[in-house]
Symmetry: none
Subunit: 222 residues, 2 copies
Amino acid sequence: MHVLLVEDDSTLADGISRILKSHGMAVDVVDNGSDADSILQHAEIAVMILDIGLPGIDGFEVVRRLRARGSHLPVLLLTARDAIQDRVHGLELGADDYLVKPFATPELVARLKALVRRSNPKPVEWRVGGLSLDTFTKRVRINDQPVELSVREWAVLEYLIQQASRVVSKQQIIDAILPWGEELTLNAVEVYVSRIRLKISGAGVVIRTIRGFGYMLEKEVP
Amino acid sequence: MHVLLVEDDSTLADGISRILKSHGMAVDVVDNGSDADSILQHAEIAVMILDIGLPGIDGFEVVRRLRARGSHLPVLLLTARDAIQDRVHGLELGADDYLVKPFATPELVARLKALVRRSNPKPVEWRVGGLSLDTFTKRVRINDQPVELSVREWAVLEYLIQQASRVVSKQQIIDAILPWGEELTLNAVEVYVSRIRLKISGAGVVIRTIRGFGYMLEKEVP
DNA sequence: GCAAACATGACATGAAGCTGACAAAATCCT
DNA sequence: AGGATTTTGTCAGCTTCATGTCATGTTTGC
């Protein structure tokens, strides 16, 4: 999960960054509004922590532009203790929650998690041909017959079905299923695919190998 | 809608009271904890605004007693600006939100409305197979035989039964049963589940382990 | 036909889960 | 209050099984 932290006090930024990383989040830090604005338009960010008091483009403007672009990205405001007007104004502009400085770190983490959880309602079911993945029960069915998949296998198959009829490279698969920074042999992906193929044979769906490019999940054509 | 306002600063109490009334709410004002406690037990209150710093029985104690009686009444805490500990503690005890003094009136009203909206009264009884949880009496029955669960066990089982037939991760369980920001080892959840399984064996219900994902409560399939 | 790319069986490693035991904390009970 | 009892969370030891790599076999494109 990528967190964008916009904070110009570098000491505070470092502190928050460290805490979040220790909770397994990937943190991008910028210290001004225009950098934030540009990153938001180009990177995959799951949630933003935004200090109101910034030099140049201030926090309000960042939120305003973000919402103007139609984004629903959850935003957590950091405000000074006395800045009541700021909080109200921020919420009006479309921020989702705020935290008053100074705050306790568990509170920050809890609020962040809550925010992301709230804004992240996943589709319940993926289906291609006779193959269906139920994200509630984490169960895979082939023509209504349940099939047991391991975590890794689930992750790979979920990614493939989301990208159905598109070619995805092994590296893309690795990036999709691994936490940031972790690596794997490309052969590992081949092994996953092999195992998955075994388990989903008979569904009207195949994982085609596109030699030199990667894999593609698609309906079987006899 | 009846609001119970517990605030010993009469100037502030009058102000808040006036604002709320102008928004069409009925307001009961008391200036101490024991009065609050007694009103809560005898009147139909929709939401409580509670100052922490009270003479006699303080705000924490009021919340504690309220929750100990099994009530889900939404509670909005009023805390002094610096009292971070108070906020965390209050949320731990089961308050639903807090507001730092001084606050803007639109914020108070907005939060209050949000709180009431959010507090949808839960069904009194959950039932899956031969297992039933009565959220009012906090009692668990297996085929009408009462079973004793501890508070934690109750909390976990309640969450599991609410999410029946869905996989919930250990972290989700922790987030669901613990107050904001508190943490636990994931192993603790394993222990809870282990203990609960012992106690509910024989109901037509099992807590399945979905390795790598979490747990799922569902009807037993022999 | 040959090399590169892919497939897959086999294996060691360790991650995930379970549970009995225990110390600390909370609660109950005079 | 304070002693007894229950609850709670962590740990350690153990089992099970998923995981990732390797070695070796197979396919594919040129």
